[in-house]
Amino acid sequence: MDYAIKVVDLTKKFKNLTAVDHISFEVESGELFGLLGPNGAGKTTTINMLCTLLKPTSGYAEVAGYDVAKKKDMVRNSIGIVFQETALDERLTGRENLDFHSIMYNIPTEIRHKRIDEVLDLVELKDKANVLVEKYSGGMKRRLEIARGLIHRPKVLFLDEPSLGLDAQTRRNIWEYIKKLNEEDVTIILTTHYMEEADYLCDRVAIVDHGRIVAIDTPVNLKDALGGDVLTLEISESTDTKLEEQFETMDWVVGVDVRNGAMELRVRNADRHLPEVFKAAEKMGVTITSVHLRKPTLEDVYLKYTGRKIREQEAGQSGLGGASESEEGN
């Protein structure tokens, strides 16, 4: 197998904090891989080690086939990164920032102008290209940085919270562009604390918590491992254990849970088995007053592995629709 990234027991300690704690994972060439976790989980530190900005305390990591500790130049040559925090020179214009980047990455002049126009179009900053970045809003800066990360078409592209602080429309555009890039054989590693983003974009997701990877698989497998869809029934007699027993005998029911006068079933292929649920209830003389069917999300996966909801930790952070900038604490 051809790996774009190979990480073995990678660890980073800052004084009395272990930010990344013996993590190991592999990313195949061409994969779109996500590190999902709350702020402070160690995602950014991991990325910084992989892109040669931080020295690992211990462990081994390889990017595009090169040891990040010993072959820094080769690694740098193979990667691109969009940092989570602003990394622009605000005293330069948008276009000047992109020019700087292109020349540092040795992009030939004629391609440079074309690519810069292309990415400026993508993030809809063309008419602001010649304005000093210090005059940009938070969202505009973010878009400019994403545009910059895409200019030099690296083999491996790191995106650290790519859509943090973007409006829904721009986020959609960026997602589509990320997908398109990935189809053009760019391996992409992104960190995010947006479940939807990880779910929509990633081939595989590693759930990171307290510097460790607690689960790693495709979003579908991760969700399936929870045992299927969540079917919540409000019933007339909430303590009807007979119905509960009845459900437990059915092989497509993975689990039954009664709480707050509602019955929660874990069901495989709930859409298909819904009629049987009603039939069983009718037979037992139980009236179903309300049905709620929910497909599990990565949020549920996260909850299962960490015992917490990711959103609870994001209190005060900008939500999905928020356009404000938010700073990470790590």
């Binding site: 910084n48 892109c51 040669t52 900005l53 931080l54 020295k55 130049d73 080769m74 740098r76 040559n77 990667i79 990164i81 940092f83 925090e85 602003t86 990394a87 622009l88 020179d89 605000e90 005293r91 330069l92 000047e96 020019d99 700087f100 980047h101 020349i103 540092m104 990455y105 040795n106 000093l132």
Partner: protein, 256 residues
């Protein structure tokens, strides 16, 4: 890719030029203080007889080469400070993650810092001409430029070395106050170092700036305590050493 990329040096230099040009207050600020020193000290001490200064040399004449050196030190050290600013604003990461060799980045910084400090040093020289300072000939001017370049590159190297050891600008300010300021006073900018007590004179002899100022003074007004060639050799030695050290420390430095 451990080679040196001229295009990358160019764009690093260009960035420095653009930001320098756009920060006009900085240009004015760094030129005004030395000019005041030059004008007011030059005027105030015009008739003074200082031991160690030949009677044929007026104080303004004596002071001008020193003030040029001083201006260049401040603007050169500023290169170190700009690395720390880049760190604060995140741009250092953007630079450090590029495949360009670290030597190229250092050379980009040096050419940028050198251009701005030469601009300011030559501005002081030009204004001093208006104040009555005289340059004797083209040969002297060339030697002056050589010393100006050496002073500038040396202190850019020192600035980079110091910046690479620090995490933020506050520490840099302290170092400027507690190390650079004494070095200025113990370099013969304002008075001949022969007038200092022995202990301080020893410090002066260890101060690379002493040889820069003496070299400038020798070139511009033919007054120096060492022959120009010795000044040149000592300063070049320091310059090469400190740039290598600065590069080494900069390379080892983590950008986040």
């Amino acid at each position: 890719m451990s080679g040196i990329s001229l295009k990358a040096i160019y764009i690093l230099w260009l960035r420095e030029m653009k930001t320098f040009y756009r920060a006009k207050s900085r240009i004015v600020g760094t030129v005004v203080t030395p000019l005041f020193l030059l004008a007011f000290l030059g005027a105030g001490f015009a008739g003074a007889v200082l031991p160690g200064i030949p009677s044929s040399v007026g104080y303004l004449e004596y002071l001008t080469p020193g003030i040029i050196g001083m201006t260049m030190i401040f603007t050169s050290m500023f290169t170190g400070l700009s690395v720390l600013w880049d760190r604060r604003y995140g741009f250092l990461k953007e630079i450090m993650v590029t495949p360009v060799s670290r030597m190229t980045i250092v050379l980009g910084r040096i050419t940028g810092g050198l251009t701005t400090s030469m601009f300011e040093g030559l501005s002081i020289l030009a204004i001093s001409l208006l104040l009555g300072f005289k340059v004797s000939g083209i040969g002297d001017l060339i030697l002056t430029l050589v010393f100006m370049v050496l002073i500038s590159v040396s202190f850019i190297g020192l600035g980079l070395a110091i910046a690479s050891l620090l995490k933020d600008e506050q520490g840099f300010g302290l170092i400027m106050n507690f190390i650079i300021s004494p070095l200025l006073f113990l370099s013969g900018i304002f008075y001949p170092i022969e007038n200092l007590p022995l202990a301080l004179r020893v410090v002066s002899y260890l101060n690379p700036l002493t040889y820069g100022v003496d070299g400038l003074r020798g070139a511009l007004i033919s007054v120096s305590f060492l022959p120009w060639i010795i000044n040149l050799v000592l300063l070049t030695g320091f310059c090469v050493g400190i740039v290598l050290l600065g590069t080494f420390l900069f390379e080892r430095n983590e950008a986040v």
